[in-house]
């Protein structure tokens, strides 16, 4: 203490310092007034609806979007009304909630409500069945699910709540950029569930909505940022480097991170430096095609067949080297694809029905020509083509590939009946090439054991084949493209079959090769056909010589493999052991479809087990969601979990930021008493100090805190003066007589003072401290 007394403090209360009396600067963030609330709410509503439109594909059709639009409109009208009436922020949000409840009641529970919008006691009784219905839809259906009232109601409530969240974050908390998180949460659902992810249009719609919010917020916030039109040199560099870094991470992360099997970046969707797959290893290409996020390529075929066709491109029968390969057919290939077929197929052609199919391959590139089985005549091809009499696979020679070909295939379907198959006898003498019956010398034991178990007591080849198919379609097996690619599971290797029988999970390749090997073990010649499952009907009808051909389209996701088994006198017969893919031929269906044990039903893959032939197997265009019905709910949950985790991690920052913004708003409000503003400013100063490593304990007085900071040498010049003003203001506010007329020294720049002190504190702290201060602010844990 010195004897020289500072008179300034005594005077401050009465005269005020001239610099404090600076006119109100223009840097205050204006809260939306006038038409502002309506504009802002309209922007948020537009953004949420644009984002919600992406749910098309998760929910069937577009009719539900109207309900969502109405709900969002009601929510935003509520919040906007609250703000236009200048109600407190909480009241506006509650009004929005009322809008949500009212609109949902009006749409779904009008009969049980008062005046159509107020939920009555009956509403809550009606709510239960609705929610049950929604839950059942989620569990039992594959995306896109039917737009049942239950699911639409749940979607309306969910999207309405998101709208409310976005609104709350963007307007009262004034963090419009963070509000994008709400939109992102909506986007995550289609991104995860839809096999093609969002697509450019959907993403653009959401992005436009987000920009709309940002733009509106910026416009209403006024000019507290840099003056318009001036772009500092560093800004462009910074923006460019952030963009480049984001792009690099987006491209590199999927290469490094295993485990994504669906959505935007599934495992296996690697950068393919060599361009389109060459098809030299058909099975690996097939696996890649199945896991590719978006379908590519489009092949169409038009056929006069009553049913859609499997389009076969190659068969794998060569097990030499313990892996499936196409036969090395250089010696036996025959030219002249205009007339294909062995004697048996020629016979079939004369008595059987001839199917005419016009195929346009588009960009499908493969040495083998896609064609329905069994081809007898192919016309209209360009290039050199040969065919293998053993498998009837058609192969280009030299550089001839299937790309951009348009040709007509005449094929015969062996008239197969269950009766005919049942009468087939086991083969005594090999009537087919050895290559179809060969097995490697050493096989995993599990193959023989399983085969013996499945075929217990069965002697007829057809019965045996049916038993194997039923076993593989049984409830034990789960269709999954998430088979571990890196462990060689994806390869055509023979050991994979043993692994598959243990894992009981895989996709068509595994089912087909397992059935083929089990059949060979049982003595039935077998091969794997690789090609495409019947695609979707396009609705077009192609006229050909007066006949009407129904057109179908196929894309890469229809890639498929299935086993073909040879029966004496009947030839090669296709089976479908893969649950959830393709269609089981009539002859390959059990006579009476066994009724699944109800107790086991829950465990069943809905596609597993004998199923009726689907008239349009392509109604489920994406193989990736073969098990989607089962995994929809878990995926939703995991998405919610990730979102919750993210929110939890960011919540300290959000909490801290919202606290600061709240104080700022209160402090800059026009009519705030000096006393309160001084207290708020000081409280914020203490919080900032705690965040940046200079916390003030409750035992420390304001003056002691100030002296400690000043003694640390960090404060000089303007920040020091600002800290002094803040401390003096606080002392007056907290301890002076509130009854006297003397208010704390007026300080119109109190918030600027806080900013100056915060800037100084931040500048003197280490980067770790700054990082911590941002994401885990210590002030949240400060003793007060």
């Amino acid at each position: 203490m010195t004897a020289t007394l500072d008179r300034g403090q005594g005077h401050g209360a009465r005269s005020g310092t001239p610099e404090y009396l600076a006119p109100d600067n223009g840097s205050r963030r204006r809260l939306p007034t006038g038409s502002g609330p309506w504009l802002m709410s309209a922007a948020i509503a537009a953004a949420v609806v644009l984002t919600a439109a992406n749910l098309n594909g998760v929910i069937e059709g577009w009719a539900w979007l109207g309900n969502i639009f109405f709900t969002v409109l009601c929510v935003e009208a509520g919040t906007a009304l609250g703000r236009a009436l200048n109600w407190p922020a909480v009241a506006a949000t509650l009004l929005g909630l009322a809008g949500l409840i009212g609109s949902v009641t009006l749409m779904f529970f009008a009969s049980t409500s008062f005046l159509g919008v107020i939920p009555g006691p009956g509403t809550f009784r009606a709510l239960g069945p609705m929610v049950d219905q929604a839950q059942e839809t989620v569990i039992s259906q594959v995306a896109p699910v039917l737009a049942t009232p239950g699911i639409v109601m749940v979607a309306c409530v969910g999207i309405g709540l998101v709208a409310l969240l976005v609104d709350t974050v963007a307007v009262p908390l004034q963090m419009p950029a963070t509000a994008g998180g709400g939109l992102l949460a909506v986007l995550m659902v289609p991104a995860i569930i839809k096999p093609n992810s969002l697509g450019a249009v959907g993403f653009l719609a959401a992005a436009i909505g987000f920009l709309l919010i940002l733009g509106c917020a910026q416009w209403l916030a006024g000019d507290d940022q840099a003056p318009a039109g001036t772009v500092r040199a560093g800004q462009f560099t910074r923006a460019a480097s952030i963009g480049a870094a984001a792009l690099a991470v987006t491209l590199l992360l999927p290469l490094a991170i295993p485990g994504f099997t669906s959505g935007a970046f599934p495992q296996g969707s690697r950068l393919n430096w060599l361009g389109a797959p060459t098809g030299l290893n058909p099975i690996v290409s097939l696996g890649d095609n199945l896991r590719r996020p978006g379908a590519f390529g489009r092949m169409t075929y038009a056929t006069d067949s009553a049913d859609p066709l499997y389009i076969r491109s190659v068969t794998l029968e060569n097990l030499a080297g313990a892996r499936w390969r196409p036969t090395d057919s250089d010696g036996v290939q025959r030219s002249g694809v205009e007339r294909i077929g062995t004697r048996s197929t020629r016979e079939l052609m004369e008595r059987g029905e001839v199917t005419t199919t016009v195929i346009s391959t588009g960009s499908f590139t493969s040495p083998w020509l896609p064609a329905p089985y069994a081809p007898t005549e192919v016309e209209g091809l360009s290039g050199n083509w040969t065919w293998d009499p053993r498998t009837l696979a058609i192969r280009g020679t030299g550089n001839t590939t299937s790309a951009d070909q348009e040709y007509t295939v005449r094929s015969v379907e062996p008239a197969l009946t269950r009766e005919g198959l049942e009468s087939a006898e086991s083969i005594d003498a090999p009537v087919v090439d050895d290559i179809f019956t060969e097995l490697p010398d050493s096989m995993p034991d599990i193959i023989e054991e399983t085969t013996a178990g499945v075929l217990d007591g069965l002697t007829e080849p057809y019965e045996q084949a049916m038993a194997i198919q039923s076993y593989l379609r049984g409830p034990d097996f789960v269709y999954s493209e998430e088979a571990p690619v890196d462990g060689g599971y994806d390869q055509s290797g023979f050991d994979v079959v043993g692994a598959f029988l243990e894992e009981k999970s895989g996709y068509c390749t595994h089912y087909a090769s397992t059935m083929a090997i089990m059949a060979r073990t049982a003595g039935i010649p077998s091969r794997i056909a690789v090609g495409y499952a019947p695609g979707d009907e396009t609705g077009e009808v192609v006229d050909m010589d007066g006949r009407e051909l129904t057109e179908y389209e196929i894309d890469s996701r229809d890639a498929h493999a299935w086993p073909e088994l040879y029966f004496e006198n009947l030839g090669w017969v296709a089976f479908e052991p893969t649950p959830g893919r393709g269609a089981v031929p009539d002859y390959a269906q059990a006579e009476v479809a066994p009724v699944p044990d109800p107790a086991e039903e829950e465990n069943l893959n809905p596609r597993a087990g004998p199923t009726l032939p689907l008239p349009s197997a392509g109604a489920e265009p994406e193989a990736g969601t073969g098990t989607a019905a089962e995994s929809l709910a878990p995926r939703l949950w995991s998405a919610a979990g990730v979102a919750a985790l993210l929110l939890a991690l960011l919540s300290p920052m959000l909490l801290r930021t919202s606290r600061t913004r709240k104080r700022r708003t209160q402090l800059l409000a026009p009519a705030v008493p000096e006393r309160q503003s001084a207290l708020l400013a000081w409280e914020e100063t203490l919080d900032v100090a705690a965040d940046y490593g200079a916390p003030s304990a409750p035992e420390e007085s304001a003056r002691a805190f100030h002296q400690r900071l000043a003694a640390s040498g960090a404060f000089e010049g303007a920040p020091a003066a600002a800290l002094e003003r803040l401390r003096t203001g606080y002392e007056h506010a907290a301890y002076a007589n509130p009854q006297t007329l003397a208010q704390p020294p007026a300080n119109s720049r109190r918030w600027e003072d806080v900013t100056a002190v915060a800037g100084r504190l931040k500048a003197r702290s280490s980067w770790q401290q700054r990082l911590l201060g941002r994401f885990l602010p210590q002030s949240l844990f400060r003793r007060r």
Partner: protein, 359 residues
């Protein structure tokens, strides 16, 4: 009996007449305007304090804090106990403070044979008037300097202490009022204990604050040797404020605002002393009252019309230390009272209202 009169003893009757001026508005010695309730405006108060302190500073160099505390006690209308080894300027401080104010000052040198009547005064029979006449003792002054108070007998000590507490003297059943401002500055020598009567704890409680002078620093000591060789520096000291000013200043201090938060803080400090494991006796309610009064004076000295927790903290050591009775554990642990007060201050939360802002 060794009574030295430093200034002319004013007639008690005249002094009594002057007492009425405190209630009326008027002009003090230095021309400052005193408001209608006798307060000095804070700015003038501040200025007057500056004058007093710088005057003291010219005599006792390098002891700003002791001087400031002494002035604080005077303005808070308390009494001061200066305790230190001989020769560090205890008496000089008391004398200088008294000299800077244009008021009556008496000095009493306490000895074992000093009687109570030597302090309070005595009634003498006036043969002319056939009546007893009261001859006021040295205690009738604005500032009474009691040198080596622990050398007097308990009886004499308690006579003085009664005057300090009651602000009046009772002789032969008649009470005589002591005019404000009234302050006793007692000095005491802690090391020379032979033939002394140490002040009982209860009586030490009557002193608002105890200060130690401490040795001057090297520069101040050099200056002292240079300047004070032949002449007494006290001779140059002229009064800088009048007695009216001091009364107005006391009124100003009484008007300093104490917020509930500060009262709570004060009470919490008091409770902490009572619960402290090293203390056999904590601060009494009177001690807290005196703490608050001293803090009010300290706040006014700092130019404020409200008390901060910092003011409480600033005077805590001086006000509380001499009232605390240390436990034997504290002595073995090498703790002393000022250290314990400091540790208590470091633990009691400063509850400002903003800690729970109404937002």
């Amino acid at each position: 009996m060794d009574i030295q009169q430093q200034a002319a003893v004013s007639d008690p009757a005249r002094q009594a007449g002057a007492g009425g001026a405190t209630a009326a508005a008027g002009t003090a010695t230095n021309g400052q305007v005193i408001d209608d309730v006798g307060r000095l405006p804070l700015v003038d108060f501040h200025e007057a304090c500056g004058r007093i302190l710088s005057a003291i500073n010219t005599v006792i160099d390098g002891k700003e804090e002791a001087a400031r505390l002494a002035l604080t006690v005077l303005l808070a209308q308390g009494h001061l106990l200066v305790e230190d080894v001989p020769g560090v300027g205890k008496t000089m401080l008391a004398k200088t403070l008294a000299r800077t104010i244009d008021c009556s000052v008496h000095r009493i040198q306490f000895t074992p044979d000093l009687l109570p009547s030597d302090v309070t005064g005595v009634s003498i029979y006036n043969q002319d008037k056939h009546s007893f006449e009261f001859r006021p003792g040295p205690v009738f002054a604005n500032i009474v300097i009691g040198d080596e108070i622990n050398r007097a007998s308990a009886k004499t000590q308690s006579a003085l202490l009664e005057c300090m507490e009651e602000h009046q003297v009772t002789v032969d059943g008649r009470s005589y009022r002591l005019e404000p401002p009234f302050m006793v500055v007692a000095t005491q020598n802690p090391i020379e204990m032979e033939g002394t009567y140490p002040l009982p704890e209860a009586q030490r409680d009557r002193f608002m604050a105890r200060i130690s002078m401490g040795y001057p620093d090297q520069r101040a000591e050099m200056d002292m040797l240079e300047n004070h060789q032949s002449t007494s520096p006290l001779a140059d000291v002229r009064p800088v404020v009048g007695v009216e000013d001091v009364r107005a200043m006391v009124a100003t201090v009484q008007d300093v605002y104490v917020s509930p938060a500060v009262k709570e803080y004060t009470v919490n400090i008091g409770r902490a002393t009572r619960e402290h494991p090293y203390l056999r006796l904590g601060a009494s309610p009177r001690a807290l009252l005196q703490l608050l009064r001293a803090a009010k004076a300290a706040a006014a000295l700092d130019g404020r019309d409200f008390v901060l927790p910092d003011d409480i903290a600033a005077v805590s050591e001086a006000v509380l230390s001499h009232r605390l009775m240390l436990d034997r554990k504290a002595v073995t642990a090498g703790e002393d009272a000022p250290g314990i007060v400091a540790s208590i201050l470091a633990k009691v939360p400063v509850h400002g209202e903003s800690r729970r802002p109404a937002v």
